[in-house]
């Protein structure tokens, strides 16, 4: 799922993602979610807009699609004359242009979802591409923010049906079931732990690899439930404890200060950039604490539990996860791996972070009669929690259900005086003028989200759907055939139909990205910018290992032979190459290999690497010469033949070679212009951050050498990178004057349609 706010202005330096999303959507407090100022249901928010360019707004700023989707229906805005007169002008001038989009995407394994976004009160004219049934891409222009009740704003609404509510949030009950672990089909964002009463906190733990508590000094035993959230980001790990408020059950207070990198160990590394950065060192911590199977230990550190149980077994089964946690009055060590402690993620919409599903107003009118909301209002916490309420009530845009929704106004309520028939008719005329054919959604109730919170929340879910993945494959690849000899080659062989490699590997790839924290757009751009190129557009998980030698004069093939490091050639999504790397991966997966065989092969590889002339004439890397056991051969071959292994080995490469710190740096895009043979000028994009992330795996000697040209296929990798930046981020591309103004990469590279 890839999603963004309806305005995409540049970020401020150092601005966090939630802050940026919030800044893109300033909300009219009189037209907030889920209630308007008359305490009636309001299905969305009014996003304010101004033409003041000094505040960062373009003079004519377009509202944009928040995600890829299809236009369900739309209405071109009426003229300004009609806007200014009744029935559109009821409480003030009101534009009536609208666009309703349907979005289909994936948020997890076998977890396809459908949701809708509605943009109402658009002015002047809709974007030319907007027509019923049209396919729209994220960030595409929809129309212009108009006027509602004389205020420069548009109504923005996000909703779904009950079937998709269950898929999106996992429940329709107000609170999360904390008697069992959370969902694993989708899992993203923060990891949460429920610590039941009776949980012991220990002063210190001398052996972090042992679950034994016999000799530990207990400093605290809980008498109330505690909830701990674990956040990974930019190399850090933050632990935050919450407990239920003593007077308001729906409110959770934080306990102590957030603990940042409290469990980072100097034993894990001494690299300046990543020293004592808990997240950046997870791989090394996993190797240190879980030497029998670091890969499954990595899952424990990352998720608090083992997720890929069909591929991994925790050894020993009671291996602990000791973390420093705040309790009321202090901090102590808790074994979070204990089965008594339940584990969740943001995908479970935990109620201790404010999420509550509101389904207790069943009368189908527009008046909010929810006891849950009434309780929040009474406690004084409604405004704190309103943006995280997901509410079930009717859509307000069906003229046929107007009386069902608003008849109560004729008699009034405790807060609203009875409305005269004349006033009621005027209101109905106004509302009907804004209504549209709501089709299947016109009757019954729908689940409504606060749009800003929905977008902020799901920006943490980086699971790529089939359509999203496809867009990362550029339409053309730049290939360097020789010095200053470039070729611009159309990529016509991408096939992602059922049974294809791209279709089959997608789930494994998403799972690997989830596990190895390749969970920001820029990290994904670096990971797949390399992986998609190395596998020939996800076509093959194996390096082509037949080599040919040609006569430089006649160009005739004079000899064919295998690559010199055969059979330890590249396999997997980020191609694992050489016995050194294979054995490191096997060890990470907890697969024991005889030291003698490992050392012999590593030494032979090193010898051949150093002596180019001996590589084919005195090569002793073969399986038969080294008596390589059948299980090692099978593990090696599985790295390409088993797509779980292909993705898992790439994730291993990502963490073992520290790609994340480079991917997290600022990506300063450089516009590169080349003139390939028989083509006009073509443009591709690179950045020092992408260079470094790529070089750390492929050409470590040149990490600090951004102008180096020798990395195999780097220009081609950059083509994927450019598409990934366009599809996954909101970053703009520099033009030929180096101004970041282009929304899409030049040279028609996006694969859409």
């Amino acid at each position: 799922m890839i999603i963004s706010p309806p305005f995409v202005r540049p970020r401020n330096a150092g601005e966090s993602d939630p802050s940026w999303v919030s800044r893109m959507m300033p909300v009219d407090i009189n037209k907030d979610f889920p209630l308007n100022r008359h305490a009636s249901w309001h299905g969305g928010v009014h996003v304010l807009h101004t033409d003041r360019t000094e505040e960062g707004y373009d003079r004519t700023e377009f509202v944009r699609a928040i995600a890829d989707g299809v236009v369900v229906s739309c209405r071109a805005p009426s003229s300004t004359d009609r806007r200014d007169t009744f029935p559109l002008n009821y409480n003030g001038r009101t534009d009536d242009g609208y666009v309703l989009l349907k979005h289909e995407t994936d948020i997890g394994e076998s977890c396809s979802v459908v949701y809708y976004s509605l943009y109402m009160h658009l002015r002047e004219r809709l974007a030319p591409a907007i027509r019923d049934g049209a396919r729209i891409w994220r960030k595409d222009r929809i129309g212009q923010s108009g006027t509602v009740d004389n205020v420069n704003a548009f109504h923005f609404e996000v909703f779904c049906d009950s079937e998709n509510m269950l898929k999106l949030t996992g429940r329709t009950t107000p609170e999360l079931d904390i008697t069992r672990d959370g969902r694993t089909d989708t899992l993203y964002g923060d990891i949460h732990f429920y610590l039941p009463p009776g949980t012991h906190f220990y002063e210190s733990v001398s052996d972090a690899a042992s679950p034994d508590t016999d000799r530990l000094n207990t400093v605290h035993t809980t008498t109330e439930p505690l909830f701990v959230s674990m956040t990974f980001g930019k190399g850090d790990c933050t632990m935050l404890t919450r407990r239920q408020n003593a007077t308001t059950a729906a409110w959770f207070d934080t306990v102590g200060e957030p603990l940042v990198n409290a469990d980072a160990s100097p034993a894990d590394n001494s690299i300046t950039e990543t020293y004592l950065k808990y997240e950046y060192n997870l791989y090394r911590t996993a190797r240190r604490l879980y030497p029998q199977n670091p890969s499954v230990g990595f899952e424990l550190l990352r998720f608090g539990r083992v997720i890929s149980t069909e591929h991994e077994t925790l050894t020993p089964a009671d291996a602990p996860l000791w973390r420093t946690i705040s309790f009321p009055g202090g901090t102590g060590m808790v074994n979070l791996a204990s089965p008594d402690i339940k584990k969740f993620s943001d995908a479970d919409f935990p109620h201790w972070t404010g999420w509550r599903m509101v389904d207790d107003d069943t009368d189908n009118n527009s008046q909010c009669n929810s006891p849950l909301i009434a309780g929040l209002q009474d406690s004084g916490h409604f405004s704190d929690l309103s943006s995280r309420l997901v509410c079930h009530f009717p859509l307000e845009w069906n003229a046929a259900t107007f009386d069902q929704r608003y008849a109560w106004l004729r008699t009034g309520s405790d807060d609203v005086p009875a409305m005269s028939e004349e006033d009621y008719k005027r209101l109905k005329s106004h509302a009907s003028a804004l209504c549209f054919d709501t089709g299947e959604h016109g009757t019954g109730r729908l689940w409504h989200f606060h749009p800003q919170t929905f977008i902020t929340h799901f920006r943490k879910c980086c699971w790529l759907s089939k359509s999203e993945l496809k867009q990362l494959i550029p339409r053309n690849a730049l290939r360097t055939a020789g010095q200053n000899d470039y070729r611009w080659e159309a990529i016509n062989n991408y096939r992602d139909g059922a049974g294809s490699v791209p279709d089959n590997i997608r789930t494994h790839m998403n799972r690997a990205m989830q596990k190895y924290l390749i969970t920001t757009p820029l990290r994904i751009a670096c990971f797949l910018g390399n992986g998609i190129q190395e596998t020939g557009w996800l076509g093959s998980m194996e390096e082509g290992y037949r080599y040919t030698e040609t006569d430089p004069r006649t160009r005739q093939v004079i000899r064919r032979y295998n690559i010199w490091y055969y059979p330890w050639y590249g396999r997997g999504l980020l191609q694992l190459t050489s016995p050194v790397n294979y054995f490191e991966y096997f060890s990470f997966r907890g697969r024991a290999c005889p030291e003698s065989i490992k050392n012999t092969l590593n030494d032979e590889y090193t010898r051949l690497y150093a002596h180019r002339l001996l590589r084919y004439t005195d090569n002793h890397l073969s399986d038969t010469e080294n008596h390589v056991p059948e299980n090692i051969i099978r593990w090696r071959n599985n790295v390409s033949s088993d797509l779980h292994e292909a993705a898992s080995s790439a994730g291993f490469y990502w963490v073992a070679r520290d790609m994340a710190p480079y991917a997290d740096a600022e990506h300063l895009l450089e516009r590169c212009s080349v003139t390939p043979r028989r083509s006009g000028i073509k443009i591709y994009y690179r950045s020092p951050a992408f260079w470094r992330a790529s070089a750390t795996v492929n050409l470590p000697s040149q990490i600090d050498n951004g102008r180096y040209q020798g990395l195999n296929g780097f220009d081609t990798r950059c083509c994927v990178y450019g598409s990934a930046i366009a599809v996954l981020t909101e970053q703009k591309f520099p033009d030929d004057h180096n101004n970041p103004v282009n929304e899409k990469p030049e040279s028609d590279q996006l694969r859409r349609g």
Partner: protein
């Protein structure tokens, strides 16, 4: 074994050498150092298994903590020799190994029109004459030899982050296939004051010992 015993009794500094010689600051002390032991996992990148590497990181005696600034790499010696220093740095100079003498040397070359333009853009300068020459040192450590290059030409983007002077080095293990390399900014802010760590780092490189036996990570 006799040879080994002999090496063990030789005073520490006799095994290292910097060419050309450098003048150490007045406050330089052989006793002011942090012992650094690098194992697999401590490297920014490792193309080959360097096993354990140890070195003493010298620091000014008045500052009890050396500001860690270098990124360490463990690379194939053959790649280090093939790459040298310079290509890709957009400079009209490079450093290469003279295989006859075993010494690293500087060589000038002429940038073409495109290369010149790129250099001007990378460094944010108007003329190539604004570039400062590279400073090259040949280093001999306890069991490795190689180069250290001081580069005062800082790409614009790094300049904005306050980088003023960079050091890059590569030491190739004697009779081995591995090379220990590193790079980083060499002028650091210590207690609000700029300290040039160049002589301390060069002296530190003399103490590099490579290929020590592996120890468990725990």
């Amino acid at each position: 074994m006799k040879k080994l015993l002999l090496l063990m009794v030789i005073p520490f500094f006799s095994s290292g050498e910097i060419t050309p010689e450098i003048t150490t600051p007045d406050n330089f002390s052989e006793l002011s150092f942090d012992q650094l032991t690098l194992h697999r996992g401590n490297y920014l990148a490792d193309a080959i298994d360097c096993k354990i590497i140890s070195l003493k990181l010298f620091h000014p005696s008045e500052h009890n903590k050396y500001p860690p600034s270098a990124s360490w790499l463990c690379l194939f010696a053959v790649d280090v020799i093939s790459n040298g220093y310079g290509p890709g740095q957009a400079l009209p100079e490079k450093v290469y190994l003279d295989k006859k003498t075993g010494l690293w040397r500087k060589k000038k070359y002429i940038l073409n029109k495109e290369g010149t333009q790129r250099t001007l853009e990378v460094y944010g300068i108007k003329s190539l004459s604004e570039l400062k020459p590279l400073e090259l040192y040949n280093i001999r450590s306890i069991n490795a030899r190689g180069y250290a290059v001081i580069n005062r030409n800082i790409p614009l983007e790094e300049k904005k982050k306050g980088v003023k002077k960079k050091l890059s080095f590569c030491l190739i293990q004697n009779q081995g296939y591995a090379a220990f390399c590193g790079f980083g900014s060499i002028i650091n802010l210590v207690d609000g004051k700029e300290v040039d760590f160049t002589p301390y780092m060069l002296k530190s490189l003399e103490t590099v010992e490579m290929g020590l036996p592996e120890k468990p990570m725990k």
